[in-house]
């Protein structure tokens, strides 16, 4: 069974078992910003959607562990473009990646992505919404 199907199945079960909650602009203190974990693995799915982009990673945090599925949350597409140099296609399903993230405090397999590095090219992208606090960001981009 493909992992995308597995994700779909997992999500369907969740939808069936819990009540719907909306989402929008929320605080992020459910993530433990004092911790930074690194996961190495492959991208299973990218959800490039408002108001928060998400990437599913199948990977390991400690060498020797068996790979598990993790969910990485980010800010909106517009902010990722401005703050981190992203476009919709820079990270794709199948890409080998290394991801630095702050984990959820409740111990489930989720985190706030800080930096994603593509293993094949060494290119990396960040997701710090506060990295866009100057005028004319393109001048910074050109440096």
């Amino acid at each position: 069974m493909k992992f995308k199907t597995l994700i779909g199945l997992a999500l369907s079960v969740l939808v069936a078992t819990s009540s719907m909650q909306a989402l929008a602009h929320h605080s992020t203190t459910m993530f433990d910003r004092e911790k930074v974990y690194t996961i190495t693995g492959s991208v299973q799915e990218v959800q490039w959607t408002n108001p928060h982009v998400a990437i599913f990673i199948l990977g390991t945090i400690k060498e020797g562990d068996s790979p598990t599925l993790w969910l990485m949350e980010m800010t909106s597409p517009g902010n990722l473009v401005r703050a981190g140099g992203w476009t919709r296609n820079v990270v794709k399903a199948g890409d080998k990646v290394v991801v630095d993230f702050s984990p959820l405090r409740n111990g489930t397999k989720g985190g706030a992505l800080k930096k994603i590095t593509l293993v094949d090219t060494g290119k990396f992208y960040t997701a710090d919404i506060r990295a866009q606090e100057s005028a004319n960001l393109e001048e910074r981009d050109q440096k």
């Binding site: 959607t49 108001p51 928060h52 517009g78 005028a135 960001l137």
Partner: protein, 275 residues
Amino acid sequence: MNRKLLFLAVALVVGVTGSNLVYAQSKKPIINPPPTAKDWANLAKLPDWSGVWNPKITDQDKQAKTNMPPWIPAANEMIQFQLAEEKAGRPPPLFVNCLPEAMPSWMLITHNAMEILFTPGRVTMLGESDGNRLRRIYTDGRPHPEDPDPTFHGHSIGKWEGDTLVIDTIGILPQSLIAISEAAGVPNNGDMRVIERIHLVGKDELHDEIEVIAPKVLTKPWKTTRIFFRQRAQKYDIVEGVCLEGYFAPGKDKQGNDIFVPIQHDVGGNRIPPK
């Protein structure tokens, strides 16, 4: 008798015509006149606010600690509880229902960019990442309606004092929050007025000096300034941002059609991570 009849007839005609006149006066529609070439030309005299404006979030963070609104005791109790919850890693879910952040919170705690359009008699503010962010500020000299229907962004009238746009906003829904962060804020509970002075500072920084008058939750008016940075590169143009899109992920139905598949989120607005 004939004279009496004639008098009655005249009185009737005068009366009906007169009441029609009164009726016509009270119901005379107020027209938004078509803009003239001069109206369009006059826009060129206004300061240049073109481009995309993104907020200084670190200053919002700072002011949440250094510039607390003068809450009444009940509101302060609510804020202190929310701050403690957030610190404990349980941020209260204030803006997670996809309703507009509304006034004045859009200006106070937004993390997203906006653009500002000038047309004759009006300034329009459009926000990214929430399909419902839109402020219409009438600069054509009209007054507020006597009893406006409350809305998320209220009724705004503006006037230019030199290069500063002074905006007066009333008619805001009582449920609209006065927020100091995404996780701390209280409903204004009605009768709120927001006065803003928006102007450039330097070439590419826009300041919104905000005064919030909310007698139901503040002991006195609260003042704060919020800062926005200008971007001109096309790659930073505002993009569509439909909040409700986050309810769904792209998927396929049995026939292979592209559809939106509902997905689950926790109370804090995050997708549920794998077990």
